[in-house]
Assembly symmetry: C2
Homo-oligomer: 502 residues x 2
Amino acid sequence: MNPETQLAQLKSILNKYSDLVAAIGLLHWDLETQMPSGGSAGRGYQLATLTHIAHETFTSDQVGQLLEDLLPYAEQIDPDSDDARIIQVTDRLYKKRVRVPANLMAEIAKAASDAHQVWVRAREEADFASFLPSLEMILSLKRQYADHFRPFEHMYDPLLDDYEPGLKTADVQAIFSALRPRQVELIRAISERQQVDDSFLHLHYDESLQWKFGVEVISDYGYDWQHGRQDKSAHPFTQDIGIGDVRITTRVMDDYFPSAFFSTTHESGHGIYAQGVDPNLDRTPLSKGASLAVHESQSRMYENLIGRSRQFWSHYYPRLQEIFPDQLGNVATDEFYRAINKVEPSLIRVEADEATYNMHIMLRLELEIALIEGSLEVKDLPEAWHAGMQDYLGLAPPNDTLGVLQDVHWSQGYFGYFSTYALGNLLSAQLWEAMVKDIPDVDAQIQRGDFKPLTAWMREKVHHHGAKFKPQELIQRITGSKIDPDPYMRYLTQKYSEIYQL
Amino acid sequence: MNPETQLAQLKSILNKYSDLVAAIGLLHWDLETQMPSGGSAGRGYQLATLTHIAHETFTSDQVGQLLEDLLPYAEQIDPDSDDARIIQVTDRLYKKRVRVPANLMAEIAKAASDAHQVWVRAREEADFASFLPSLEMILSLKRQYADHFRPFEHMYDPLLDDYEPGLKTADVQAIFSALRPRQVELIRAISERQQVDDSFLHLHYDESLQWKFGVEVISDYGYDWQHGRQDKSAHPFTQDIGIGDVRITTRVMDDYFPSAFFSTTHESGHGIYAQGVDPNLDRTPLSKGASLAVHESQSRMYENLIGRSRQFWSHYYPRLQEIFPDQLGNVATDEFYRAINKVEPSLIRVEADEATYNMHIMLRLELEIALIEGSLEVKDLPEAWHAGMQDYLGLAPPNDTLGVLQDVHWSQGYFGYFSTYALGNLLSAQLWEAMVKDIPDVDAQIQRGDFKPLTAWMREKVHHHGAKFKPQELIQRITGSKIDPDPYMRYLTQKYSEIYQL
């Protein structure tokens, strides 16, 4: 058989696999946004069955044989071509996934589905004990999963690699070690200055008007409603069901403006990324982003580098005042700008300011590694969380809703995921510096509410390529260096020096 | 291997199959209620892939072998036991489905998915020509499908049998031939009497209040919101995603009260049926209803025998007046009762009164048979529809939106489905007569808004059994005879004699 025929066969299997992944995506999205509670048991079975079939489809002997035959062909053609990358990326994923039995994948899917409503209820009721058995089960399954990758440098490596291909635990720890003292120093310096007033953000803001304003802004950003929609969920997320259907969710607090707005702009960044992948890569494993950190670079960019910038609000603030005249009519743009950038150690990660955000991530990474290693038991997690919050941010949560139960991730088995948020912060600034070289006028454009050149740049450099390149390779190609904390620290320091007169 | 082990193996495969069917159900529900238009192409692929896998799973050699080994075992155990029925029903389905290639099933699924938005748009724009290629494609595929069942008495038989196991085209034609003159005579007699006034039904009725009232009523009926939800769609439908998650949809017209209310009560009947299947049958092919006619007996019962009855409105009308005082404050209960039962030949099936409804079905059956036989070409369908409407109801639709484009069914490949609506009407009255013997007090209960005994009776006699019995067998067990038009004609004659003083 010639390579073209073999490649067509491989793609046909990958198409089928991707259709299953899309259906799994819909089952997930529905579970978190639409499903009545009575559907919970069935949903677990459905997710387990589809995950099992998807895993078997991807790791079949036929795929293994096709890849073996096609790897030399991939070496001969343009190394940046879609075909070469489809073969190579699939081969990397195949060699990883073939180690794991389909039954274990199905068990993890079922446990995660079953745990969702348990977590939602436990979070509502600040009742960690009711969530404990679910989390123990999931952790045990994820440890079994990691076990299939022995030998490894660190047991956390294969989990991290699922979200951040090629990155090791030691790499992240090194980056975080370099970062931590600089962030601690920044937070300390800010804490000595006079605090800004953000009391007007805590007034009553009508839910539907908040929703409407968020929709206006992300439509301007370039989020495409023909290929997406927005719903409410307990924890905001983005789910693609193929490139043509990329859905975002948010949550709205009627007594705190920033929550919905910044989660909406955040998710729109994920959405714009997923909507912008080259359609040639649809229905292949390359149709997702390069990694979660690269994904997070986009969500954090639209949320923070744009959405918390002075230029942005010089354009949108009059509009916001028009919508909320009672709340903001007497608040100046500059006051508002400083309020949404107020730095203050706080309990909830997704509401955290940019200076303290990464501290939340460092805590989670430390706890995850301890859980996976086995040096921390799940039952001791709330206490370890308390101690960690004291250490990192000088705060103790009054209950587990504001503590260990706040994030959806562990209930879904997403161990290895959290550090990508901090890495995404770093990348957002690193990509921004590269972009500014090509679009020196970008600040003025944002001031006019024009995001087209900026989004087009990200499309071409980042979104379009899907998962063709590993994250470090992609970043190196675009910025000339690997993940680098310096641009982010420059960005934070400059921004807060101005706001807090450091 | 002993039969118990083999049965466990069979059930395990059926569970997997049912999970896939549930996921397909969600993909469908989402397509009609939530999906952004950009998801359309991907959805076709997803449905095709899952349908292909589901079909292959169900028709595998392993299933064939297990069934062959298990059939003698099923003969030895209690013939009404779940296990005996699971083996026998699965065997019947297997022998049918194994004749059809998985690729054809996948093609039909893809064509139907692709056609959905084409139909929605064509219906909105009264543009049959734009829908013609889709419908030609689907008809051609369904004819290919039927071809796999040669030899047959009639080419329409295998299609009908998919919805109404065991019933032949000739059976339905015989029932309809007996029914038609009696319905024609009833409509004629009514047409000679003075028409009732229903102008107050055509006033402005607030959408959200209509929605709220419908929810109140179907909650009283017993529709369980823990295991369901209601959304809007172009064409009302019920979709179960397993027994624990049975969703209904409706559509609301703000200038005509009956539309949303009767489609809501109609779909709630399907919903209550699907929610009431014995949980032991969940994740097997027996978890659906006995047939579509039996399903329709329940939807038409909650919609009409209850929802258009004098007793029902003697309880609910004061509440409805309270909600719509401007529209109904001066309309007496009896006036309202007669208005919602007004008989008048009309263009839209789902809005038709009980006396003319079956005429719509007879027309569709005639056209479907002609299309499947090949004696009518799709391009000539609008003209045939016009001629048929003149013949059956003395009306011609002014455009195709009010004519051939009104129903979703053909766009979804549901050829063979329509006659089950009329059969369901017959069964609704037949079951009602049987129920009244056990619950002579039912009218007084309805007058109190108490549907518990009635719904409990249907639960026990009908819903609980899922698809364990073929429709004719089930009806015979409950009522002592097979499908019989007499009870329905008795019901109609009695009802309209009183309203129209025949």
